[in-house]
Symmetry: C2
Subunit: 101 residues, 2 copies
DNA sequence: GGTGTTGTTCGATCGTTGTCGAACAAGGGT
DNA sequence: ACCCTTGTTCGACAACGATCGAACAACACC
């Protein structure tokens, strides 16, 4: 399986913002904010696994996450350093905002 | 005319991000980044005035801009301080990104 | 009052996207 | 080999949103 993980600089800002402008995806990003890895299945936010897979794809193709295979699972992690370098303050601003605002 | 300018804290983060996740609106925000006021008509980015009015409404209702009447015109300005207080780094991150990325 | 300028609103269209179930693929375990 | 778990992909559907032209409203100015 080809994992499409673009260079962040190649992703339009609007695409990055659009990727973050969704409740489910924001919850995923929040869950990854500690820098750790998590399996796709660990993000159970009341959506089907098809939908979850879709959201993870959006985040990945926006250059926000990296994914690696581990057995039958896939481990996802936030590309925190790269995002912070290109958009300093963006993740902090989004992550420190109270959930379900 | 009732101008709907919500308290920023009452706007979901996703709505703020969604408001910024559009090329036309991002151009508007960039044009207002210097802190000045501008008439709606000054944002001529190749869209009709109906579309422009729609985008300004989205920005206003996301709590990102304020609008005041001035004759037949309406002057728009960015709510920079408030946004920076609630989402420090967000506007900077977005505004310093190279346009047409 | 009439005309022109500036914006907003309405209705319609059309592409995008969030959502699901079902089918499929790849591994691990017994 | 078989099955179960984990994800992805494929249609389909519904909701949303960007866009436009046209109609309307508010104001200024002559």
């Amino acid at each position: 399986m080809e994992l499409h993980e673009p260079d962040l600089t190649a992703v339009p800002v609007t695409a990055v913002l659009a990727a973050l402008a969704d409740d489910v995806r924001l919850q995923i990003v929040r869950a990854l904010a500690d820098g750790g890895e998590a399996a796709c299945g660990s993000f159970d936010f009341g959506v089907s696994k098809a939908t979850r897979s879709h959201h993870l794809k959006v985040l990945r193709e926006a250059g926000l996450t990296r994914t690696r295979a581990a057995g039958t699972s896939r481990l996802v992690r936030l590309r925190r350093d790269e995002v912070d370098t290109l958009y300093p303050g963006l993740l902090d601003a989004v992550l420190t905002s109270r959930p379900t605002a």
